[in-house]
Every structure is written in structure tokens, then in C-alpha cells.
Amino acid sequence: MAPTLSRRQLLGLGGGAAATLALSGCGGGSSAGGSGGDASSTDLTWQMWSASTAEVDAWKKVADIAGRASGSTIAFQTAAWNDYWTKLTSQAASGQTADIVSVQSLRAPQFAQLFTDLSPKLADMGVSESDFDSSILDALKVDGKLLALPYDFGPLVVFYNKTAFEQAGLALPAMGWTQDDFLAAARKLTSGNTYGFFAGAVPDSIIPFAMSQHGVQAVTSDGELDIDTDEWRDTLNWYRSLVVTEKVASPLPAAGSQAAATNQFLAGNAAMNIDGPWSLINAKATASFEVGIAPMPVGGSGSKTVTAGSGFGVSTAAANQDLAAKATAGLVNVESETYLGQSGRAFPARTAQQSAWYEGNQVQDAQEVMDAMIAAAEGYRTTAKWTQVNNEWNKYAVPCFNGDSDVDSFIQQVMAQA
């Protein structure tokens, strides 16, 4: 008798097929992430944050340059800045990171365990440390391990509204201007709803002042968070007074608005702001006024600041460590860095290629300030829990700088993250 299927059996089969479909649907896409596969393959993966299609195109071009230089094929994976760190963490938890991983210097201690130490490989990679700015190279080292090769960096400096300065009849801030000059200018530029300065609630806005006033960072050279000091108390009280007593900076709007400083500056609501060269080209293109950069005003310790930047390193999970290292070197070779500098994507960490940034973007006038501040800068030191420190800092700086609470309680809350 020929086997026939009853309607019930057919229905059963149908249900089973549907289940299989659902299952395969769920399982799709698991091939993402590199590191699997054999060590002889020349296919590599590289993950990097990006904010626009133009940026993605630029990074793909850099991937091509590095691929040619190292004899590999580099697949580019990307996510938006905030998602990138969440994605990296969850991928790391399941051992699925790409072969080449991008990291910002401030987050290097947090992700240190994901990276291979590049120091012993530098000779094979054809890389000489002396080609790179030393402060950013140091910032990408954790416990003596070189986690990544830097592609960009920059000192935190003062961005100012040149048009507003000229309209107010003020001398433009020049080399050697002091904190008294800064305060006098801020007073003159404050009227009604426009303010002289934007007092940001993030550590980046304050650390350069602490450096210039007392030569201290939030993290000591031993890697310990320490702002429970007289020096920090003094700087924080001075900074707070800009909002509370001098009223040359607007009350802080809300915690969690990291972009607030840049936006207020670009909208013309605050005439001065602390920022880095990575924002300069966009600021010049966006602002309806002329944007200038000035050195940190001279305080008790001089005109000092910190540098931060980002780089690329090899994941410990990469199957072919040597090839990934060579490709990483390619991502920051002379050709890549010249391209990134010229197109305004990055202020090159390779010192010889920095001229490409100035010339390619008509920002030669910034060179004097940049050179001086780079020379006077330390690498921005952070801890493995810097994300938490940053969050708490941001949340408690708002009531402190608005005058709702005092500096001591701010210090206590931030130090709880040590």
C-alpha cells in the first residue's frame, strides 16, 4: 500500500517546518565577528565606531590601504559611538571580538584585557615608536603593555568665538594669556542670555584647568583616582564660582548632556569652551561665527593640559596574531595618516603627518597653539572604572556647580568610584 499522508500528518509536518524556519531565523547572523576560522586565512575583521556614511567611507578607504600594506583583506564593522562600547563589551564576554579592535585612550584601562601587547611585535610590524606623539602612545599603554597604535590625538584647548571677542573690543587670547585675562574676557562677553564660558559637567572640561592651576590630573601617575586633595578642592571651587558667583557661565542644564557644551558654543550662547582638535573642523564648518583656538590660560602651574586620542590594537582572540598586527600597522602607516589628516578626519598621531591636517584644512593658524599645548600636555590618565567615574562626575557636578550642593559632597560622590 502506498504510504499516504493524512491531513493530520500533513498539518504536523507543516508545523514542524514552521518551527524549523523559526529556528533557522533565530540562528541567522551568527557568523558576524571575526577570530573564528583558521590561522592561514588572510581575511581579517576590524571594528570601529563611526557617526556618518562619509566617515564609514573614509574608514573603508583606510582598511584598503592597510589591506594592501599587509597582504590581507580587512572587513570593516561599525557602530555608533555609545553602542560601540556596549557591543565591544558583550562581544568580549562571548569571545567574539573582531581581529582588530579600536579603542579610545580614556577607555584603554577598562578594556586592557582584550588586547595583545604590541611592544614586542613593533620591529616585525615595521613600526618605530618615535614616529608617534609620545603622550598619546603613553596613554595607550596599560601596565607597560602597548594596547594599540594611535591614529589621532589632541590636547584639550580653549575654543573661542572670535567674532564675539572682536565685537566686544577684546584682544584675542594669545600665547601666555592668564586666568585673569580669561575671567575678564568672560565677564565682558556675558550679557543677558549669552555667557562668556560654558562650564561643562564632564571631567574633560575641568582637568585642563586643574593641570594649569596645580599640575594635577584626576588620576595620579600611579593610576589611582584622587580628587580628594586641596589642589582639586581649589580648582573645583574656582570653577564652581564661574557659575555661582561670577555668573560668567550659564547654570548647567541637565546631567547626561555631554554634547551640551559644544552645542551651546556653536549656537553662540557661550563664547568660550574646552574642546579638542577633533571638533575644530566641524566647528569651523558649522558655526555662524569665526572659531579660534587658544592655549589654556596660564595659572599657578603654567599653561598645561592633557591629550586624549584613539588607536587600533590586536584582539587576543585574533587567530592570526602576526597578520593582524601587520594590518594594524597599516591602519596607521604614513599613507593612512596622511589621508586621515588631509581629509580632516583626524589630527594624526604620527608627528610627521600632522602638516597634512593643517594644510589640508586651512587651519595653519591653529598650529602655534597646537604645538605649544602638545608640548605642555600629559596623557589623560584614567582608571579601569572610568565610565563609572565619568557618569558620577556628570551627575553630581550639576548640583555642585549650580550651587545646590558643595564641592566636598561632589568629591565624596566621585571618590566613591575609586
Binding site: 504536523g12 547654570p251 542644564p253 546631567a255
Partner: protein
Amino acid sequence: MALTGAVRVTDATGSPQAPAPPRGTKRGDGRAASAFLLPGAIGFVAFTAFPIVASLVMSFFDWPVLGDPSFIGFGNFVELFTTDPVFTTALLNTAVFVLLYVPVNIVVSMGLAVWISPRIVGRRYYRVLFFVPAVTPMVGNAVVFGLLYTPRGLIDSVFQTLFGVSAPNFLGSSAWALPAVVLMSVWQGFGYNLLVFSAALDAVPPSLTEAAAIDGAGPVRQFFSVVLPLMSPSLFFATVLTLISSFQVFVQPYILTGGGPGNSTTTLVMYLYQSGFQNFRLGFASAIAWVLFVIIMVLTAIQFLGQKKWVHYDQ
């Protein structure tokens, strides 16, 4: 949904020759039923049951994202209720949010539902208008409210024009931040309850209010003694759902204030998120989730017990 669908299909089967068999379990139904249950069941197990069990297990571990988990028994719960400084604040903030939000939401949505319930001109348009905030994405609403609240924002400008003084720095002040978050949430959330109440009002038979009017009851007496008791099942439904959702408040403080200034708008779910996804303490975050679950469950159970006294199901 998939489960009931699958069962219904197997019930309706039967070979063409045989008359419909008597009800009861027939051999062979089981396999087909399982096959149809499978897709739904896999989804349920993978995306609901497993995560619930996993989070319960994780709440007894110190579970970092990177590195190995270690069993610590009730350690996370003990830390929450004894040494952790933020949890008590988050619990208190959530309680304040619920106590402000739920009554205001119910009163506003009920008030507006009553206002548009008579045949006023453009009633249907009002309904749509009031429902729009509830269907627009909350993130977008929060961003817009952030701009309204900020110094030099719309509210501040109006204050300066009308009164010559600045408005409070709503999101930057520890005293104002939570009320500002509540206000935004009410604006976002009242439309849903308004629809529920509006439908319930329409279902009240006019003969009852007319009879009450003939007996001499004024509009207020009619509302509280006739209409409201008839609406009590809807009111109960709306209160339970609003209470549960308000305990889970997250997006509003996340976008508007980031939990600050200080911890003044850190709610339980906000703290859960920070613990799990910013500080990467997954076990600790799971413990918070289970505490929240127990709180919501107990309060909902109390509401269900209490409904016997005030909810009327027969008309």
C-alpha cells in the same frame, strides 16, 4: 497567541469519511499539537522563560561581563538593602514618581474623558489629539521636553517675557527634576487611559442617569453615585496597568536627566540599567529586577484583593 491557534486547528480535523468523532483526546492528536505548539513554545522558552530563570540564577552570583561569575548566595540582596547607598534613593524616587504620576494621570485622563463625553463639537478630533502623545515615541517626546525645560528654552523664555524672571532650571535642580519628569510622563501617558475611560463612559446607559436626574440628583451626584460605580472595572484596569508601568519608568529620566542631578531622578529601572550596562554588574542588576518584580507583584495582588470592595462587575 500561537498556542491557542494551534489547538483550534487540531480540534477541527477529522478524516472526510468518518463523522466528527466524539470529544476527547484521540491518539495522534498529541504529535500534531506539539508540532504546532513548537514555534510558539520555542519563542516562549528562548525569549521569556529562559531569561527569567537565568536572571533569577544570576541574582545569586557576582556576574561581571568579563571574567568568571562566582556564587555569593543572597549577597546582592544583602548589599541592596544594607550597604548600597543608591538603592534606597532609587526606591524612594520610584515611590515618589508612582505616588505623583498615578493619581495625576488618572485624574487628568478621567477629567478630560468626562469633558469630551457629551456630544461636544469635534469630540472625535479631541480624542485623536489627546491620544497622539501616547503613540509618539517616548524618546522623541523626552528630547523635545528637554529643550522646553532647558535654561533659555521655551518655558524659560515665556517666563522672562511674562514675569521678567527666569524659570527654574528644571532639569538641573535637584528639587525640580523629578516633578519635571512626572509632568512629561503625564503628558505622554494620559491619552491611553483617556481612551479607556471614554469608551467606558459611552457604555453607561443614559436611562440610568436620566432616572437619577428625575430622582433629583445633580450632575456631580450623578457622576459619583451612578457613572463612576459603573465605570469601576475600567478604572480598576487603568489603575493596575498605570501602576505597573509607572514602577518601570526608565526612558524619561534616562533621556531627560541621566538619573541626575546627583541621584535625584534615579529610578529603580534606571539604577538597574546603570548597574547592568554601565557598571557591568549583571548579578546585582538582576537582583534589582527581582526586588522590583516582588514589589509590583505584591502591590498588584493588594489591588486585586481590594477591588472586591469597590469594583462592580454587574450592571
